[in-house]
């Protein structure tokens, strides 16, 4: 039994360890270790295509995580005030959004956006005054929308758990001490749930930054970092890609660890 568990973990983590290991390989060939070197990191960071993909990914991750944090929090607060039946329905929907496979979300979002564009673009063309008619198409907006919607479910779940542990009485106490509902939110509720919002933001950020499947469907001509990595791998695994993967891995781990700490600490403080 113990051996089996060991084998499972070995199977899980060996490939990751190899990627990290070979990113420091001084040789060009990914099949033999020659010596230690950080040259591939330098190479990766000076690759303009890679840097552009990174920038695209960062913009998308920041924006979608930001939107998810704002709307997810609003949803979580709103859900506190509805009846138990409505809340159960929404809880189910949010949980479902998280377990639906990325491929399905990708295809569904693509189909929906394509339909929307073919509906809106002609209308836009007919009412636009100038000749330079804007045309909605896949790109930043579509990835941000797809990621934002998915992450919003994530943020809502995290923030809702925090609000539930907050207790009604400090909100009532604030009202009892002459604070309007808005002041109560600003002075009492927000400071209490802020760590969970930040945690939700970080998880949303990591999700968006790492996501390949959904982005691949709705990216249009945009290249995010995972899409770039995928494309380069088709030309063979280079140590440069290993270096990129290692950097993404480290950045994601750091963000997730921070998010976990934020989510845990609040439970103790309450």
């Amino acid at each position: 039994m113990r051996a089996l568990v060991f084998a499972v973990y070995l199977f899980l983590y060996t490939p990751i360890a190899l990627v990290v290991l070979f990113s420091f390989n001084s040789g060009r060939n990914a099949s033999e270790l020659v010596g230690f070197s950080t040259q591939w990191y330098g190479r990766a960071l000076s690759n303009p295509f890679l840097m552009e993909a990174l920038q695209t990914s960062l913009i998308i991750a920041f924006t979608s995580a930001g939107l998810a944090a704002v709307f997810g929090t609003m949803a979580a607060i709103g859900l506190e005030r509805v009846g138990p039946r409505v809340r159960a329905i929404f809880d189910g929907l949010f949980a479902a959004a998280i377990v639906v496979p990325g491929v399905v979300i990708g295809i569904a979002t693509l189909v929906a956006l394509a339909e929307l564009f073919s509906f809106v673009n002609p209308m836009l063309a007919s009412v636009w005054p100038g000749t330079n008619v804007p045309k909605l198409s896949l790109g930043y907006g579509s990835i941000i929308a797809a990621h934002g919607l998915f992450s919003m479910a994530l943020v809502t779940m995290i923030v809702k758990a925090r609000i539930a542990s907050l207790g009604r009485d400090i909100v009532e106490a604030s009202g009892d001490l002459y604070a309007s509902p808005l002041t109560t939110f600003r002075e009492i509720v927000l400071p209490q749930i802020r760590p969970s919002i930040v945690a939700g933001f970080l998880l949303a950020f990591t999700f968006s930054f790492d996501d390949f499947i959904i982005a691949f469907f709705v990216a249009g001509s945009k290249t995010t970092l995972p899409i770039y990595v995928f494309a380069s791998i088709r030309r063979g695994v280079t140590p440069e890609i290993n270096a990129v993967a290692t950097m993404v891995l480290v950045a994601s781990l750091v963000l997730i660890v921070i998010a976990r700490i934020l989510m845990r600490e609040k439970k103790i403080a309450s």
Partner: protein, 376 residues
Amino acid sequence: MGSAARDDIEFRSVTKAYGAVTAVRNISLNVPKGAFLALLGPSGCGKTTCLRMIGGFEQPTSGEVLIAGSGMNGVPPYRRPVNMVFQHYALFPHFNVEQNVAYGLRQMRPRIPAQEIKRRVGEALEMVRLGGFANRRIHEMSGGQQQRVALARALVNRPSVLLLDEPLAALDKKLRSAMQIELQTLQRELGITFVLVTHDQEEALSMADLVCVMSGGAIKQLGAPQDVYDRPADLFVADFVGKTNHIQATLEADGRTLRLPDGSALDVGAERNIGAGETTLAIRPEAIRLTPGGEPRGEGFAGTVTHRIFLGSSVEYSVSVPALGDFLVTADRSTDEGQLVEPGQSVRLGFDPAAAHLFPASHAAQPEGNTHGQQT
């Protein structure tokens, strides 16, 4: 604000229903300014709902709550001249003690100058003897200290009415009695109307000057603590406030002769105006005299001691009396000449019939399954 002559709180035919459940049933109540009212009753009796309607956290389904003479229907908590001490204190964990106490003052409009707020917060903390604790974090304070922060946070606003929702329930026994004295002293010094919700009859009797016993969403009795204890309005009140022994009996047509289940007759001294028929006699444990040695033909009832609980200044005996059931008897140590009666010993029980209360048997609504109705 109302004039001194007015009542601070008034309930006019207030009913509160949650769907099909009626928590408060057509209650009318007047609380004079400066009173210390205790709403006393078992859980689910509607006492907390009443308190929350004064605080504005619940709105009456029908009827009206008035505070200092003004109708409060539809007025949210933050526009009411009342403050509440919550059961679990509800202190703001991300603020320190001073920020917690200053919170209400900071919300007031027109704004109070920062210096003035600081001074009043300092005074309030002195008042609850937390002078040096202004910069402490809430989680660094003990339960009793948090309780006093909550009290200061409410009182610093100089409300017309202070609401206390089971404020002492989370404290240990010793701290609880200390806080009882403190609360009572504060209330007398400040002259603010206090409304205390509690299920602890001792707490209600010892602190309040007006006790309102509630059950099933209705008021069973409203009166001074001694009145409620000495002259309970019905069997429920007799059971809930203090401990009580019951004897089921039949009152004869003369209104003063009770036919007991063992066939004997008991003269209750004076004519009772409750009508002949099925009757419950209620007698307090401390009103019963217990005499060791039971000659079968003496005064009172013969019985056998089954249990003894030694309480230091007094002793509680459980005495089994054939045909009448179990009796609880409290014997004062100062009069028992240092002699304790052993379980198994035969005793005689006697009482002054004038100390007994008679209730028609239809009043049989009583707390579930006990004859010694004490709850804590």
